[in-house]
């Protein structure tokens, strides 16, 4: 357990993986925040000559319809981050809620929640999202994030439950119980802080997973019906023969963006693991 904020920040600042990963993610975040404002037209507007490679006018070139790929990229980044945070966050909340409850209460509650977790765990996520999304006529980013959140939580619940099990028999929890604290208060004040490092790393993984899942959904064509996303860009690129026409500027940036963001998140996680676990720190 980290003794205080200062020790954490000290080691965190010195960990190259954490710093580098964070820098990349923040960099993309800045692009997502600021980028759309750099162009005064929308991602789907026809603003230039068709199928142009990158130039000073259009940094990422244009699509077969003359849309600005850079504008699409920056708008797409936005929805990517949005879905990642919302979807990952929702999955984390549900997973923690179920995990803490199952781990703390035990008994019948645990059995039931375990069964629910196992069922949702085994069902392949994309398959479910396929039929759910297909039936909705109009789809938005928020519903997509909600679906992702509702299906991605089982592994979190399992892990949180296991940790809660081991923590709840520790002395400080008994003390809290003796002092009259209720279950929820104990979880929030005693159990969760001891898992804070683990929860943070879980959150990062959830964010990355949500981004990948959303991109996959968008690529199949079941993403938000309006707006732009990185997965949709790749969908369009493939649909309009960008591969055969060699229009790499259309499909390389979105995929590269996702890879860079998710990869940096993973690297951040490795760094965080080193910061939290003294045994892993290099001397």
């Amino acid at each position: 357990m980290i003794r205080g904020r200062h020790e954490f920040l000290y080691f965190a600042g010195r960990n190259r993986k954490l710093v580098a990963g964070l820098a990349v993610v923040v960099g993309f975040l800045v692009v997502a925040a600021v980028g759309p404002a750099l162009t005064d037209y929308g991602p789907n507007d026809y603003v230039g000559p068709a199928s142009q490679p990158p130039s000073t006018a259009f940094w990422f070139g244009t699509t077969t319809f003359g849309q600005d790929v850079f504008a699409q990229f920056t708008h797409g980044l936005r929805s990517t981050f949005l879905v990642g945070v919302l979807g990952g966050g929702l999955a984390g909340l549900i997973g923690m809620l179920i995990g803490f409850t199952a781990g703390y209460r035990g008994g019948v509650v645990d059995e039931v929640l375990n069964m629910v977790t196992n069922v949702v765990l085994v069902i392949p996520t994309l398959a479910v999202l396929l039929i759910v999304a297909a039936y909705l006529r109009v789809r938005g980013v928020i519903p997509e994030a909600i679906f992702i959140g509702l299906t991605s939580w089982p592994w979190v619940a399992r892990a949180v439950r296991a940790q809660t099990f081991s923590l709840r028999s520790r002395d400080f929890v008994d003390l809290a119980r003796l002092s009259g604290a209720g279950g929820r208060a104990i979880i929030v004040r005693e159990v969760a802080p001891n898992m804070s490092s683990y929860l943070l790393m879980t959150g990062i993984l959830l964010f990355g997973g949500a981004v990948l899942l959303a991109a996959t959904l968008d690529f199949i064509g079941l993403g938000p019906t309006s707006g732009m996303s990185l997965g949709l860009m790749m969908n369009n690129a493939v649909l309009w023969s960008a591969l055969q026409l060699g229009m790499w500027w259309w499909f390389v940036p979105p995929g590269l963006g996702i890879t860079a963001i998710v990869g940096s998140l993973y690297i951040m996680n490795v760094g965080l693991d080193e910061v939290f676990n003294p045994k892993l720190r290099k001397l």
């Binding site: 196992n118 039936y135 995929g255």
Partner: protein, 330 residues
């Protein structure tokens, strides 16, 4: 052991029930009249629309109580009747899907098995050779962070379109008719290679990293220290550590099945490879909900079977489960 398998089978049966129920429920809980919604969104020729309407009314049997509809849905399922495809009207969905399944399996099964095996071997190797570790790790992280469709796109573009070494679409050359001839088989393999490679690489990255971490973790275990204190050979220690590190990797494989299937679907879409993924795309574009539902059920079934196979493999690798004790993840 009987309890172990019994429990697992129970979960799978329950899951299948839940999946089928969800599948049945969704169209009925969407706003509006499901029959009209489906008809209006599918662009059908008038004659097709008419027979479709008749069929849909039959399936949804809106004058029949809900539980009857549910039961008849199960009835159809048991008979193998998944409805009629809108996109390929009037072909039954089951037939369409069964023609596509072999292609998807041909991609998935080798990709899963090979990537798991090779990834674990590489990861274990990287855990004890620093020079390998320094290359495997970053490459592994990049690979596992790559969305499946993007690697597929890259490979299709670089090796297919630009270099021209491999075809970009189809399961086999369009000029050939299916037969057992060497030419046809070669064409099959040639078209199969890029999608397979794409799936393999992304999955490989994940397993390599996971195994590397697990082996490092195992090498810190007490039994390893004890063996080393007694001068056991490095080979023996590594063998034990490797075997024990495989267990969580196997559990991880079961957890990753959903992602792997999703990866196969999008890879097929990129390569227009005639498997389930291709069906999904066509179903989405043509508003063919029966096809989508059929694919969904097939995928669920496939994943459940795969889970069960992995459970069997787990018992083989972790001898403790055979004697009725809980190993990790049991």
């Amino acid at each position: 052991m009987r309890r172990y398998f019994g429990r697992k089978l129970g979960i799978y049966v329950l899951t299948f029930f839940v999946a089928v129920t969800v599948d049945w429920m969704i169209p009925r809980f969407m706003p509006g009249d499901p029959v009209q919604t489906m008809l209006s969104r599918a662009s059908l020729r008038p004659e097709a629309a008419q027979s479709m309407e008749a069929y849909l009314n039959n399936v949804f049997g809106l004058d029949v109580p809900l539980w009857r509809q549910y039961l008849s849905f199960w009835g159809g399922l048991v008979r193998g009747d998944l409805g009629v495809s809108v996109w390929l009207f009037p072909q039954p969905v089951t037939g369409v899907i069964l023609r596509a399944v072999p292609y998807t399996l041909a991609l998935l099964v080798p990709a899963i098995l090979l990537s798991w095996w090779a990834g674990n071997k590489f990861g274990a190797l990287a855990a004890r050779r620093t020079w390998l570790d320094n290359t495997v790790l970053p490459v592994g992280y990049v690979l596992t962070a790559t969305p499946y469709m993007w690697l597929a796109i890259l490979l299709a573009w670089l090796l297919g379109s630009e270099a021209g070494w491999f075809p970009l679409s189809g399961g086999y050359s369009f000029s050939l008719a299916p037969s057992w001839s060497a030419e046809f088989l070669a064409s099959l393999a040639w078209h199969w290679f890029l999608p397979f490679l794409s799936l393999f690489l992304v999955a490989f990255g994940g397993w390599a990293i996971g195994m590397r971490n697990m082996v490092i973790y195992e090498l810190e275990a007490d039994y390893v220290h004890y063996l080393e204190s007694l001068g056991a050979s490095r080979r023996l220690v590594r063998r034990y550590a490797f075997r024990n590190a495989l267990l969580p990797q196997l559990t991880g494989l079961a957890l990753a099945l959903g992602v792997l299937v999703a990866g196969a679907l999008v890879t097929e879409i990129v390569f227009s490879y005639p498997g389930l993924g291709y069906l999904v795309l066509q179903a989405v574009n043509n508003q063919d909900f029966f096809l989508l539902q059929g694919v969904f059920l097939f995928i669920v079934l496939g994943v459940l079977v795969a889970n069960f196979l992995i459970d069997i493999a787990y018992v083989v690798i972790d001898p403790r489960t055979r004697t009725g004790m809980r190993g990790e993840g049991a």
